[in-house]
């Protein structure tokens, strides 16, 4: 036995469970506003994640229980379920989770070793492979649970008017057609900040994020970095041409911005490590996401932005090694 002989009662499991708990407000808002279909998706994703992780651990001849019980697979599964449309057919969710757990996580050596955010890798894979399915999102209060379940179980998607464009999609289409931002926002797709109803789900994620900050699971550098990165670029464009660029608030309340700010860029494994590095990493994600949203082919660019910044992590870490004690001028008080 070697020192230290005492340890704080902390564990990876506890960290992951806190993250899952922090997702609950957002999920609750989701269920309230969109319907309980998302819960089915989360269940499918969770089962797939645990089963595939168990299988891979078996193949890799690793201890099963200790990794399976750490909760990291569940966090990935929930995130994948939340970033896919809640009426996505079940097999899309399964493919997404498999890409995340088997491809992005275990092929790189399992928890702690993966360079790319598993959930984001999964999102990129399915949006490239199934762009049509990925653009069908349910209307707020548009579908009853039976219809949602029918769609999730792979039922016919020919029913008209059940799905609609997301706020980001509508905004993009409008701007392409030379409509000004103000006119676009006046349509009923939009609420006070982002997509009507969806902004409340974003608020739910925000509340969960504050909980994570309070529990010190994440540090402020990441969410603030993301919000500053996206908000600042969006703000500059908006101030210069308010008719062609939506406001920072719209960007932050739409798509996966809040989920990304508190739950995606905060993945410690694939992110930068020093406080300054974290800020740079998250700000980079925010900026690139805005660029892809504004000028790119895809409605939301956060997943691509995260993967791009994941690549930059070793460089960021190298450039932002924190100073040791006494190596800065001002004494702390």
């Amino acid at each position: 036995m070697t020192s230290p002989h005492i340890r704080q009662p902390a564990s990876v499991q506890r960290v992951m469970m806190t993250v899952l708990a922090a997702l609950l407000p957002g999920i609750a808002a989701y269920v309230w506003l969109v319907g309980a279909g998302i819960l089915v998706n989360i269940a499918i994703a969770s089962v797939t994640a645990l089963a595939s992780e168990a299988l891979v651990l078996r193949l890799r001849k690793r201890a099963l229980w200790i990794t399976l019980s750490d909760g990291s697979a569940l966090v990935t599964a929930w995130l994948v379920a939340l970033i896919l449309p809640s009426i996505a057919p079940w097999w899309l969710t399964v493919i997404g989770v498999l890409v995340a757990i088997v491809g992005a996580k275990h092929l790189y050596g399992g928890i702690g070793q993966n360079p790319f955010n598993p959930a984001m890798a999964a999102y990129c894979a399915v949006i490239v492979a199934y762009p049509a399915l990925m653009s069908q999102w349910p209307h707020i209060d548009g579908l009853d649970f039976a219809t949602q379940l029918h769609l999730i179980l792979g039922g016919s998607r020919e029913i008209d008017g059940i799905t609609g464009a997301t706020a980001l999609d509508a905004m993009r289409t409008g701007l392409r057609n030379q409509v000004d931002v103000h006119t676009i926002l006046s349509s009923e797709t939009f609420g006070f900040a982002g997509g009507r109803g969806w902004e409340w789900i974003a608020t739910g994620y925000f509340v969960g994020g504050l909980f994570l900050l309070a529990r010190r699971v994440i540090t402020w550098h990441l969410p603030i970095g993301f919000i500053v990165g996206m908000g600042f670029t969006a703000g500059v464009a908006w101030l210069l041409a308010p008719d062609s660029f939506p406001s920072p608030l719209f960007h932050l309340a739409s798509g996966g911005a809040m989920l990304a700010a508190f739950f995606i860029v905060t993945d410690p494994v694939t992110g930068a490590s020093s406080p300054l590095g974290k800020f740079i990493f998250a700000a980079g994600v925010g900026i690139i996401a805005w660029v892809i949203r504004t000028f790119g082919m895809y409605p939301d660019g956060i997943a691509f932005a995260v993967l791009l910044m994941n690549i930059c992590v070793p460089l960021i870490n190298h450039a932002t090694q924190p100073a040791l004690v006494g190596q800065r001028k001002e004494p702390r008080s």
């Binding site: 001849k61 690793r62 201890a63 099963l64 200790i66 990794t67």
Partner: protein, 181 residues
């Protein structure tokens, strides 16, 4: 067509001049490869490789005359390092993985003062003169064992270096993820 030819010729001229200049002004003295190899060799000077010392062996490797797996104190580890540095294929040496460092000790009661070990020592770590007792300066001894065969009275022994808190080593932590296999 002509302009393309002229451009290419121009580029060739400029680059050629630059290379020629570099070859003259950045010329490296000595044989840096042999020195790099020598830096990897353990400097035991034991001559077990068949060369009279580490430097000569390094030169032989650099000239492509010797295999990289002849060094016994270096063992497989050393051969691996040489293979990596030289880009050659690794060849195992087959020596025991880790041997504790040893030093020679002369039994001063038995020593007859023949000076044969003094002549054999590659690093001049034995002092004494004819008909006088010899002794090993253990600080300088590399444990090469070259002094053992010449001794007519077998008064030299190799002993392990004593362990002190200063040279005692912590073990590699082994509490890793258990492998179910």
């Amino acid at each position: 067509m002509l302009s393309a030819l002229l451009v290419m010729t121009g580029i060739a001229l400029v680059l050629g001049t630059a290379l020629g200049y570099a070859a003259v002004y950045f010329k490296v003295e000595g044989n840096p490869l042999a020195e790099q190899i020598d830096a990897i060799l353990p400097q035991t000077q034991c001559a077990q490789c068949g060369y009279p010392g580490c430097k000569p062996y390094a030169e032989a490797i650099a000239n492509g005359e010797a295999e990289i797996n002849l060094c016994t104190p270096g063992g497989d580890d050393g051969a691996q390092k040489l293979a990596e540095m030289l880009g050659r294929e690794f060849k195992p040496h087959g020596a025991p993985v880790e041997k504790l460092k040893t030093v020679a000790i002369i039994d001063e009661q038995t020593c007859i003062g023949c000076t044969l070990c003094i002549q054999a020592c590659p690093v001049d770590a034995i002092i004494g003169s004819a008909k006088q007792m010899h002794t090993v300066v253990s600080r300088y001894c590399t444990g090469c064992e070259l002094c053992l065969p010449p001794c007519p009275v077998d008064c030299i022994a190799l002993v392990e270096e004593p362990r002190t808190p200063q040279n005692w080593r912590w073990k590699y932590p082994v509490k890793g993820l258990k492998v179910v296999a």
